[in-house]
Each structure stands twice: as C-alpha cells, then as structure tokens.
C-alpha cells in the first residue's frame, strides 16, 4: 500500500484540470473525496407526483420559519419584567404597564422596518407548516408509504408532528398578550388535572404559581433552541432515510418494487426543488404582506381578568379546544379517597389526543401484523385498493375535523344564530356517530371503486356507439382498455385474512398461543374479509369469449358477485362489522 506512489499514478492517469471549475473541483476532491458523492447523487432518480410536494412544502415552510424567526430574535426580549410602554404607537398602549416581552413585540411591529412583515410571515409560515405536515402525513398514510421498510421513518415523521405542535404552542405564547396568556392558563388547568403529579408539573412549568415570571423566558429557550434543534436533527434523519430507502412511486407501467422510475436529481430535481422553495417562501411572504395576523395590540397585554370572546387558538390546537368543549362536566369529576380526579379535563385533553396519537404510532405495525406481510413495498397503494385502511384513516380524520369545528362552535352559533347548547349536543352525538358512518361509507366507496375497476377491465369503456346486429339486437360497443390503463387497474394485491394453525396440535393437545392467534385472525378478518380481487387474464379471456354483445348485462350482474370475496376463505356477509 504505498500510497504516495498510488497518488502519483492516479494523478498521472487523469489529465490535470485546466479550467477554473476543474481546478476547484480537484482541490475539493483531493481533500474530501467528494467525487464519489457527486457520482452517487447527481443522476439519482426520484419518482414524481404532485403529492410528493407536500413533504417538501413542510420543509420549505420550516426554512421560512427559520429565516423569519432569526429576524425576530434580533428584536424580541423574552422578559416578563414590567415596564412602562414608551412607544407612541399604537396610541392605546402608550403609558401602559406591560411586560418587556409585550413591549418588544409592539416595538418590533411599529418601529423595526419590515418587523411587522416578518412577524406576519413567521406566523403564517407556522400555520402552513403544520398544515403541510398533516396533509403530508395523510398522503403517506393513504398510499401505504409507511409500510416496510419505512415504518421507522413514519415514527420519525410522527415525532416531527409532535415537535411541530410544541414549536407552534411555545411560539404562540411568547408575546404575552391576552390571547397567549389565556392559552397558557388553559394549559395550566390541563396540567393540574393530571393525577398525582399535576400540581407539581404546573409548578415545574411556571417556576411557581401561574403565571409567575419564568414562563416566557423558558418558552423562549424551548421555542428558539430546543425544539428547532430537534426538528432540524430529525428532518435530517427523515430525509436521510428517505434517500436511503429511495422514494416510493405510484403504481404504473414499468414501476415495480425493485426499481425507481423518475427524473434525475440533476438537473430536474435541483430546478424543481429550488423553484418550489422560492414559490412556497414567496407565497408565505405575500400572505404576510397582505393578511394581518395576531395583531396583539388589539388584545392588550396579558391580564388575568379580561378575555376576548371569539378568540381562537391556531388551527392545529383547535381539536383540543373542541375536545375540551364537548365533554360534559356533570358526573365526570371523581373524588377517590379524598383525591380529585377531574375526568372532565383528563378525558378530552389527555385521553382523546392520546387515542389519536397511539393510532398513528401503532398503525404501520398493526397493519403489517394483520397482513402477515414481510416484503418491502416501494410501489404505493391506490387508496381504494386497501379499503379498511382508507376507511380507518377517514374515520379518524372526520373526528379530528369535527373536534376542530367544535373548537369554533361559538363562532358558528353567533354566525347562524343558533344556541350553543344545541350545537354542542349535536357535536357530542356526532363525535361517536360520524367516525362510524365515515368508516362504513368510505369502505363501501372503496369496494365500489374496485368493482368499477374490475368492470372496466373486463368490459372496457362505454364508447357511446350503438350497433345493430343482424338479429335486430342493439348493443353498445365497448372499447377495451389500453395496456397501461388495464395494468393500473389490475396491478394490486388483495390479501386474504390470516390463516392460523389449528387449535389442537398433532397429539391432540391444545396449542399454546392459540388464543392470541385467534384474536389476530379476528382483526385480520376485520381488515380483509371483504375484498375485491384484481381481474386475472383468464377472467378477461372468459369475458371476451362471452362475446362483446352481452357486455352490458355481464358488467352489471356477473362481475359483482364474482368480485366480492372471491378469495378462498371469504364469507360474503359484509354486514357483520
């Protein structure tokens, strides 16, 4: 290994660079070996689809948050010390006793040029950031992008969602105005409701009693150091895993679990991603420039006494607000051995989001278990092809939206002149009914779409052209699907429920673990009992040999029963769930 010698030979083999770029590249490569990285990534292929933009949007709005946030930190003073507001504008605040944090927020808005712009850009970016995370997560969920090998990246993403909530909450609380103070007060009330440690946690957060003098400096550290550092680290891990796994692709001709079909990083993705960043940032700036948001001087500095009706938290907190509103208070506070257990707060503020978050955490593992599936998946599912997953997703989503709407029920009440009590009761009932209805309807819809796919594959598109046969019969001509479209409609798996070993083993002894197996099988049935199998070439051939002229009746009658549960273990009874 005479390295010195090796280097000279390599250097001699390649002609010395002559251009400026060449020289610079040579300099860099000799010190970093970056050539290998460039070779690896420059022409790496990434699949394309509009929905893959959603994760990017989250990323770009996060960058916008960092840029505008750094601007704001230059002028914001996170102190709760009291001061006399000196500024002339806004006139209502002049001479008021306010906290330094509040005063610096006003000064930043009225005296720092571009300060109000940056504050508004920052707030809009936060709202869009959370929205794109949530929609991105929905994309990943409904297309099954969380399946092996991406389960861990799903968990990284989930953690990012929680961190996003933490970032939004801690930032919202900083200006020390009436809205943010009341938000903190609600948080304090929720924290106190936690059994055993609640009171101490409240002291821990506020450094004593609410509101004290510590909370804003503490939240400031959380907001500008702790949470962003974690988000940056996890985004790095998230994207590293994304590159390692190579992005999933939507199904289509030539796209398999063993390849990636798409465009090369250079030049296409470099241009598109740069372009997208500037567009997202540009739109956020436009929003900040034209749409006023969180004008804290209209609410005034925090004071424990006033509260403005109709004040809304940021949208991503609305579901918690709604959840708190819907819970009936009577009979839900228990006293056990003299200790108070306020279920009227614990259930809506801890249990309800707990159920949602638990569902998100366990879902990928649960689905893999009931599918009995250990393969890698790189081709995405069309949502209709996994009816129960899609239906579960829609069910959870519908309740999330319902709770968010309940978080604005006072606005709805005043706007439509209805009684708050009645609206609340309607919501309380819908909270239980809506997800069930959403589940049933979505599942039906998916199965219906799958049947429609079968029908199209078997009988083609209606052409609208009627021909008359020699025997006098009129039929409509159907045009068969082209290869690509047929492939899109037949290329999916319809897994059957798990098969399990019999209860008794070979010697007639009851098998250990049978009970657990049985339960998993039950769950698996719930997922895969009702299913529509893809058309096979034999079925297509059979449909053709029937002759095209009876295509219409066949489409309506024969395909459907053949389609539902054509697998071996399937019962046709879809009512049982």
């Amino acid at each position: 290994m005479s390295t010195a010698h090796d280097t000279t030979t390599t250097a001699a083999a390649a002609p010395a660079p002559t251009t400026r770029t060449g020289k610079a590249a040579d300099y860099l490569d000799q010190r970093t070996g970056i050539g290998g990285v460039v070779k690896e990534f420059a022409r790496k292929v990434f699949p394309d689809h509009w929905s893959f933009m959603l994760g990017e949007m989250a990323l770009y709005s996060f960058i916008a948050l960092l840029i505008s946030g750094v601007f704001l930190t230059m002028f914001f003073e996170p102190s709760m010390a009291l001061t006399q507001f000196e500024g002339e504008y806004p006139a209502t605040a002049t001479g008021q006793t306010v906290s330094v944090a509040y005063a610096s927020t006003l000064e930043m808005s009225f005296e720092v040029r571009g300060g109000l712009l940056m504050r508004q850009v920052h707030h809009w970016s936060a709202l869009i950031f959370m929205a794109s995370i949530v929609v991105h997560m929905m994309r990943v969920f409904f297309t099954g992008a969380f399946r092996k090998p991406r389960e861990l990246n799903w968990l990284v993403g989930f953690t990012l969602l929680i961190l996003g909530l933490a970032a939004g909450f801690s930032g919202y609380s900083l200006p020390d105005d009436v809205l943010s103070g009341n938000g903190l007060r609600i948080t304090d009330g929720v924290v106190k409701s936690i059994p055993l440690i609640g009171s101490y946690m409240s002291y821990m957060i506020f450094g004593g009693e609410f509101p004290g003098e510590h909370i804003i400096p503490r939240l400031f550290t959380v907001h500008i150091l702790l949470v962003p550092a974690l988000i940056v680290a996890l985004i790095a891990l998230h994207l590293f895993l994304m590159v390692l796994h190579k992005h999933t692709q939507f199904p289509g001709g030539g796209r398999t679990d063993k390849n990636v079909v798409g465009y090369p990083a250079l030049p296409v993705y470099v241009a598109k991603m740069t372009g997208n960043f500037f567009i997202v940032f540009g739109v956020l700036v436009l929003m900040g420039a034209t749409m006023a948001i969180n004008n804290v001087w209209n609410y005034g500095p925090y004071d424990p006494s006033p509260v403005s009706a109709g004040a809304q938290p940021d949208w991503y907190m609305l579901f918690l607000e709604g959840s708190l509103r819907l819970m009936p208070g009577q009979g839900t506070e228990w006293v056990i051995f003299g200790y108070t257990l306020p279920l009227n707060v614990l259930i809506p503020a801890v249990v309800v989001p707990g159920i949602l978050f638990t569902f998100l955490i366990v879902y990928p593992f649960l689905e893999a278990r009931v599918t009995g599936d250990k393969r890698e998946h790189h081709v995405l599912d069309r949502p209709r092809n996994v009816p129960v997953r899609t239906a579960l997703g829609v069910a959870f989503l519908s309740d999330f939206i319902l709770l968010a709407a309940a978080g604005s029920n006072d606005l709805i009440a005043t706007h439509f002149g209805m009684s708050i009590n009645e609206i609340t009761w309607v919501y309380r009932i819908l909270f239980f009914l809506l997800p069930v209805a959403a589940f049933v309807v979505t599942k039906r819809l998916c199965l219906g779409l799958q049947r429609k796919d079968r029908e199209l594959v078997l009988h083609g598109h209606e052409s609208g052209r009627i021909v008359r046969y020699a025997n006098g019969e009129y039929v409509e001509v159907h045009t068969p699907l082209d290869d690509q479209e047929r492939w899109m409609r037949v290329n999916y798996d319809a897994p059957a429920p798990l098969e399990i070993e019999p209860k008794m083993d070979a010697r007639g002894v009851k098998r250990k673990g049978y009970g657990a197996d049985k339960r998993w099988q039950g769950l698996s049935r719930f997922f895969y009992e009702d299913r529509v199998e893809p058309v096979t070439p034999a079925q297509l051939a059979a449909a053709h040999s029937h002759g095209d002229h009876d295509a219409l009746e066949a489409g309506g009658q024969q395909a459907a029963p053949a389609a539902v549960g054509s697998g071996s273990t399937t019962g046709t009874d879809s009512q049982e769930h």
């Binding site: 712009l117 009330g189 997208n276 509260v307 290329n491 297509l540 051939a541």
Partner: protein, 355 residues
C-alpha cells in the same frame, strides 16, 4: 437516454406460464406493459417554442431582480411614520417586492424544469435494504472480536454492573439541582389561598377604586379585585395574585336569588349582591360574560355556564363545580368587604384539592 426508458428487466411481475391454457394469455397475472413511451413536448420538437420558453424563463428571473430592487426602493422611499396605517403600507410594499423577487425565481425554476429540461423518465434499480448474509456474518464477527478485545479478565458481571450504575447515576448530578429549583419553592398549597382576607375591600378592576354597596345597581356585573396599594399593583406578584383573586360581582333582585353558598347561620351575600370567583372551575379562564335576564355567567373558553342566582351552579358545559363564592359584607363606611378568603380552592381541579 430514451433507451433506458424501456430497460425494465427488473420487473417483478414476470409472466409465468399457468398450465395449458388455450387462450392468448397464459398467466394468472397480467404482464407489466413497461414504462409508457415518452411523448415529446412542443419544446422538444419545435425549436421556436423552445426559444420562446427560454425567453419566458429569462424574463421571470429579470422580474425577480426588479422585485428585489423594488423592496429596497420601498425601504428608502416609504418609511413608516409610526401610525398604524403607514406601518401597514410599508409592510405591504416591502412584502410585495420580496414576494415578486422570490416568486420570480421560483416560477422561473419550475417553468425551466417543465418546459426545457429533458423529461424522459429514467429507470434505476433498487436493492434490498437489508445487508447481505456475508456482510451480516462479518459484522457479528467484528462485534465479537471487539468484545473479546475489551480485555476483561475477572468477573464480567461486576464490571458491567458498575459501569451501568455509573452511567445511570451521573445524570442525577444535573437533574437533582435542576428539579430542586425549577419549581420555585414547590409549595403547592398556595393554590388553596388568595389574598382576600377578612375586611379586604372589594375594588374595581382595573382602577382599584373601592366599591360602596350603594353604587351597585341591579343587573350590572362588576369586575372586582381586592383593594391593595397602587405600588403592589405595579408589581409582578400582583399578576400572580390577581390570577387567583379576581371576582365577578352582580346584584340581583333579592327575590330572584334562589340560593347562594352560605352555610347554615351565615350570610355570604349582601342585599342581593353576590360575588363569585371569576376563575372558571373547568380549566381556569376568566368567566367574563354575564347575561342579565337569565343570571347566567358564561365562560368564553369552553362555554361552561353558571347560574349566579342559584349558587353559581353549572347549568351547561364541561365545568363540574360551581364557582366558589366570596363571602361579603359592608363595613362602617358602606364599602363592600370580604368576610374571609374563599372557603375552597378557586379555579380548576387538582389532585390534592380537597386534602
């Protein structure tokens, strides 16, 4: 590159002959038709269109430059004069220029990619994520070798235990002082007391003026704080104390007052005047909206509704308990005063509330 287009030898869906079918198709799966053929765009076939699109991209970049310059012009030429309107105008102009400069770059980039860059799809292979068996075997061997090289001669268990204990204990050196201080004095019994005392006058919020019973007319709601010194009201402790001590006081016709919270033999209200804690027993918002006709107090946060004429009982919403009542009386000068602190902790419930 377009020949890469159809290199598709990795296809998973390889046709397998399925028995002696007589039909054309002999498999239980369809065959993957492969990546669809590339359809040329206008810019691929028409050099004039390509040229035109290149000009559009150039124009968009130029527009972006103008936007950036526009922002600087706005910065210099339209300084905010302090009034809300002029701050808004400055915000609008700075932002509009900035948005043009950003969107110009963005739209130019996307248009360039869509109209001009080669748009034939390429196919690359994926490889299983797991490492090969040989690599795994090597990894296990390396780990074992490493462990052996760690050079422990004596009882491994003892060393392991000591090492783990050390690692587990060291965070305490940070955690103990931190936790010790992070909660202030950790005296959570403060939740149970406010600064109301026997004889404290009821004062108006925010002016701090004490209130005479004769000034309280029927139907109106008063936002009340304990009377203190002006100096105390400029301090930070005041905000914390006020957070617990705020009271909402109303006078109802004595015949409308169904009940209050006075225990046997005591009189907590005064001639139809009742004072209740303003801190919602749900999660602690100030209960601020009073409806004269129904005597209902509504918490704007989650709409808990309390009936002031009936012991502040909960009539609707997520709160569970009535608002605690402040026992009041009138002193020699006719001012309203507290008889005592609240008889129970105000505000949201907590574990030790009744202890």
């Amino acid at each position: 590159m377009s020949d890469m287009n159809h290199t598709n030898d990795n296809s998973a869906e390889v046709t397998t002959p399925a028995g002696a079918g007589t039909d054309v198709v002999q498999s239980d799966k369809f065959t993957d038709p492969g990546v669809p053929a590339h359809r040329p765009r206008l810019t691929d076939v028409d050099p004039r269109s390509a040229k035109r699109n290149e000009r559009i991209v150039t124009f968009l970049f130029a527009l972006s430059c103008l936007g950036a310059i526009g922002t600087i012009v706005a910065y210099v030429a339209v300084p905010p004069e302090g009034s809300t309107g002029s701050v808004r105008l400055s915000t609008l102009l700075l932002g509009a220029g900035m948005a043009v400069s950003l969107l110009g770059i963005g739209i130019a980039g996307i248009h360039w990619a869509k109209a001009l860059m080669v748009d034939t799809e390429m196919v690359q292979d994926r490889h299983p994520i797991r490492s090969s068996d040989e690599v795994r075997a090597d990894a296990v061997r390396d780990l074992n070798e490493g462990l052996e090289d760690s050079g422990v001669v004596g009882r491994r268990g003892l060393l392991k235990g000591a090492a783990l204990s050390a690692l587990a204990l060291f965070p305490l050196t940070i955690a103990v002082p931190l936790i010790g201080s992070v909660g202030g004095d950790w005296n959570i019994s403060k939740f149970k007391h406010t600064i109301w005392k026997k004889g404290t006058r009821l004062a108006l919020d925010p002016s701090g003026r004490p209130i005479k019973a004769s000034d309280v007319n029927i139907g109106s709601a008063f936002h009340v704080v304990p009377e203190t010194t002006e100096e105390f009201r400029q301090s930070h402790e005041w905000i914390t104390e006020k957070s617990k001590a705020v009271v909402l006081m109303v006078r109802v016709r004595p015949e409308d007052l169904k009940s209050d919270q006075s225990p046997e033999g005591e009189q907590w209200s005064y001639d139809g005047i009742v004072a209740y804690s303003k801190i919602c027993t749900h999660v602690g918002c100030p209960v601020a909206l009073y409806e004269q006709q129904t005597h209902h107090l509504l918490c704007p946060c989650h709409q808990s509704t309390f009936d002031v004429a009936d012991s502040a009982k909960v009539v609707f919403g997520p709160a569970n308990r009535p608002l605690p009542q402040l026992p009041i009386a009138v002193d020699d000068e006719g001012y309203l005063v507290a008889q005592d602190d609240f008889a129970e902790p105000i505000g949201p419930s907590f574990w030790e509330r009744l202890k």
